[in-house]
């Protein structure tokens, strides 16, 4: 997509925000930086992350969450050690974001079925994109008779990919936590291993695909 150069356009991540306390900032800087993103998914994995409950307090001693829907920071502000990626790749924006993550993060984790192999959104993969768009915008049940159907297509809208891709088929991913969503325990185990410099070892008892 063309880069927007119009100076009247602002990106949300460029907007000024309240500065944090410098002491807190300094302390955060010493911690392991974690970035989080949801691509084409349902945010269920991020909710599952919250299922680690009170263990998050101990974890936050070691890690600081930068770019994330929880912190509402839109771009990665500095080099991160760990990236938590939820959702598969379904459009142009997903590709760009995943690239941005890969460029700025050391360890990338595919979290959940969608990131790992496409998941529920990938159920569209046995239908052509044209048929999907026809179903959604031309022949949908809600179509108003006589109204001209419109296929969304604009330079400001990311184009949809021909199929939903697992993240690791677009950029290199380092670890995988399957599940729809994975248990909070599984997510905690992987993050805790990484935060403590241990080799990641997700036991069979915590793995699930559904």
């Amino acid at each position: 997509m063309e880069k927007e150069t119009d100076k009247n356009t602002f990106y949300s991540h460029d907007l000024p925000s309240t500065k944090m306390d410098t002491k807190v900032m300094a302390k955060r800087d010493e911690k392991i930086q974690v970035a989080m993103i949801g691509l084409c998914g349902c945010w269920g994995c991020t909710l599952s992350f919250l299922d680690i409950d009170e263990r998050i307090i101990g974890l936050l001693e070691k890690v600081a969450i930068t770019r994330s829907s929880l912190t509402d920071i839109k771009r990665i502000p500095k080099r991160c050690k760990i990236a938590f990626v939820e959702g598969g790749v379904a459009n142009e924006e997903n590709i760009e974001t995943l690239e941005h993550f890969r460029e700025n993060c050391d360890i990338m984790i595919s979290v959940g079925a969608c990131a790992v192999w496409g998941g529920v959104p990938a159920m569209r993969n046995d239908v052509s994109l044209k048929d999907c768009l026809t179903e959604a915008y031309v022949c949908n049940v809600g179509a108003v008779t006589g109204d001209k159907p419109v296929i969304p297509y604009h330079k400001d809208l990311p184009r949809i990919t021909n199929k939903v891709y697992p993240c690791h088929e677009v950029v290199k991913m380092d670890y995988f936590i399957p599940g729809c969503p994975p248990d909070g325990d599984a997510i905690f185990k992987v993050l805790d291993d990484l935060a403590n410099g241990r080799e990641v070892n997700l036991p069979t008892s915590l793995t699930r695909y559904d």
Binding site: E92, I95, L98, E99, R102, E103, S128, L129, K130, L133, T134, Y137, V138, K148, P149, I151, Y153, R159, I160, T161, N162, K163, Y165, E169, V170, V171, K172
Partner: protein, 614 residues
């Protein structure tokens, strides 16, 4: 309406007649299907209920067999079915032009039939004519050394009402005579002797001598020769026969594997044409040795044009009392029938061949039990290659010691090479085991050889330089007869990709690694050739190859990764040239333009459609 009912009634009658011919024997399903196919050009759905009832098989059970073999069609496939061999050798010899001419002349795309239903065009694997490619079958008739001009001529004549047989064969030639085969194809033997293609064998005195011996003495003689099976696996023939003789069971079988499917080989075709009685008598000796009264030649359907000739040869032996009841007045009786295959490479595997002989899908069996205990119809069976049986005849004539003195210690005697590709004299060569690769190349006039594919895709691809001194024998450079030569101008990676495509097409699909894994190997080869693979992808393809090789159920899967592994070993530089270094964070294998193109196109098409609707 009544016309249609009449047609259905007529079909039912015809199918009942066919079933009667085979006593509604389920094991003869392949023959039954061929007879139906010969009438209608496909297996009509309407035939299934009659078959199902007579054979006590469900309709899907019959379709299971029909759909396995690629010469069987389940919908109209054209009045004339044209099968063009798509081997790597054909592709080096003008395949593409022939293919295009065929499509133009017949107005039919490959894989389909033309509008009038006259022609059906299909690609097929090697049809055993690598020394005279491009070649094609029009049903049972074969046409070799094709050029666009020749193709145009053939199609024009068919359109004018002539049959392929009329086009290819002068009226005076009978299909049961060798002249028929000679008129269709070349059988070029550049070097023969001392074992094969002897013209002066007295089969009567040979068989009468054999019948004077105890079967165990015959087997001892074969064991003394140290001959190993010529299919490629190299199991000692004497031991196989002995074990089968010792196996429990009244009824035993002798099967001759004439399913010469390994791309690049055609020696069995030549043996069956030039020395059919060597092969038949070898089978008779086998029957006498193990105590069997029935022999089956499993002949690949690509060789239909040899069938009537072979049947005539069988009849000639019968006329001389060398075959049939009470051979030469003895108590030993032996009969041979020909079982036609229907297009499947994996049926060359001995247990897949057994399944196919029993009228089933050609899926290799779980072993143990082995065919010597539990073979055709569950009875002890020996299965040997055409060349093995021919050699047995000579061994029985001249003695095991005589034979064993030739060749090397672990590979005695001689063997036939089917030489094809970039050389001056492609054809058949009888060589003594122990000859070096370099010597063969010199012998056949291969001047600029870069690589040799020894034993076909399932064998090894070796560098003509690096492997010059390697010895052709079981313990060094094992060879099943296929010997394809590629010179400096050939694209080795293209050849490897073709071979992987071949294995994907021919996998029976019963086990996971072969069915699924070969598709990934083939796709990865395409990716490498498209310069979208990294060093990691190259490492992956090696490790995937190892998985498929180690875990597959039969020889097809355990050898299918060999084109990749052996070329990587001999020509690592051609892979390195294609490898890319990843720039940025997107993987080279991810094609962003392609991923987004569908949206652009869909928008364009749907918008246009809506505009015209208004």
């Amino acid at each position: 309406m009544s016309k249609k009912i009449n047609l259905v009634f007529k079909m039912k009658q015809e199918i009942l007649d066919i079933l009667k011919r085979y006593n509604s024997n389920r094991a003869r399903l392949l023959d039954i299907l061929w007879d139906i196919h010969n009438i209608y050009g496909y297996i009509p759905d309407e035939a299934l209920p009659t078959l199902s009832e007579a054979l006590n098989m469900s309709k899907i059970d019959i379709s299971e067999t029909v759909s396995f073999y690629h010469f069987f069609h389940d919908k109209p496939s054209g009045k004339y079915r044209i099968y063009l061999a798509d081997t790597v050798i054909a592709k080096m010899s003008g395949f593409q032009e022939v293919l295009e001419t065929l499509e133009q002349e017949t107005k039919c795309p490959f894989g389909d039939t033309d509008v009038s239903g006259t022609f059906g065009l299909y690609e097929t694997s090697c049809i055993g004519l690598s020394d005279q490619e491009p070649a094609m079958l029009i049903d049972k008739v074969v046409f070799n050394n094709l050029t666009p001009k020749k193709v145009t001529n053939i199609i024009t004549q068919i359109k004018a009402g002539k049959t392929p047989l009329e086009i290819s064969t002068p009226k005076a030639i009978k299909t049961k005579d060798v002249a028929y085969i000679d008129n269709l194809v070349q059988t070029t033997i550049y070097k023969s002797g001392p074992v094969f293609f002897k013209s002066n064998t007295n089969y009567k005195s040979l068989l009468s001598k054999c019948l004077d011996f105890h079967p165990l003495e015959i087997i001892d003689n074969i064991s003394e020769s140290n001959i190993k099976g010529r299919g490629g696996a190299g199991f000692p023939t004497g031991l196989k026969w002995q074990l089968c003789r010792e196996a429990d069971g009244e009824q035993k079988y002798v099967i001759c594997n004439a399913d010469e499917g390994e791309p690049g080989t055609f020696k069995d075709r030549i043996l069956l044409t030039r020395s059919p009685k060597d092969v038949l008598v070898g089978m008779i000796i086998g029957g006498y040795s193990i105590g069997s009264d029935t022999g089956i030649i499993y002949l690949r359907s690509e060789y239909w044009y040899i069938k009537e000739y072979l049947e005539n040869q069988i009849q000639e032996l019968k006329n001389e009392s060398l075959l049939g009841e009470n051979i030469l007045g003895s108590s030993f009786s032996f009969n041979i029938r020909i079982q036609m295959g229907a297009g499947s490479y994996v049926c060359g595997d001995e247990t897949a061949l057994l399944e196919s002989c029993e009228g089933k899908r050609g899926t290799p069996r779980v072993k143990p039990p082995y065919p010597i205990q539990n073979g055709y119809l569950g009875k002890p069976t020996i299965i040997n290659n055409v060349e093995t049986f021919a050699a047995i005849t000579r061994i029985s004539e001249k003695g095991g010691k005589w034979y064993g003195a030739m060749g090397t210690k672990d590979s005695t005697g001689t063997r036939l090479l089917s030489v094809s590709g970039d050389c001056e004299r492609p054809g058949i060569y009888e060589i003594e085991w122990g000859i070096t690769l370099g010597e063969v190349l010199k012998m056949v006039g291969a001047k600029n050889a870069k690589a040799v594919q020894v034993s076909g895709p399932s064998g090894e691809c070796v560098s003509a330089k690096l492997a010059e001194n390697r010895i052709i024998c079981y313990s060094d450079l094992s060879c099943n007869g296929s010997f394809m030569i590629f010179d400096e101008t050939r694209d080795i990676l293209d050849i490897v990709e073709s071979f992987m495509h071949f294995f994907v097409e021919e996998s029976c699909g019963i086990c996971i690694p072969c069915r699924v894994g070969n598709v990934d190997l083939h796709n990865m080869m395409k990716r490498i050739r498209a310069r979208k693979a990294t060093q990691k992808d190259l490492d992956d393809i090696v490790s995937w190859s190892k998985i498929i090789k180690s875990t597959s159920r039969c020889g097809l899967g355990t050898t299918s990764p060999k084109p990749i592994l052996t070329t990587l070993d001999q020509f690592p530089e051609i892979y390195k040239e294609k490898i890319v270094v990843q720039k940025g964070s997107l993987l080279p294998s991810f094609d962003m333009d392609k991923a987004l193109l569908d949206h652009d196109n869909a928008h364009k098409e749907l918008s246009n459609k809506n505009a015209t609707n208004e």
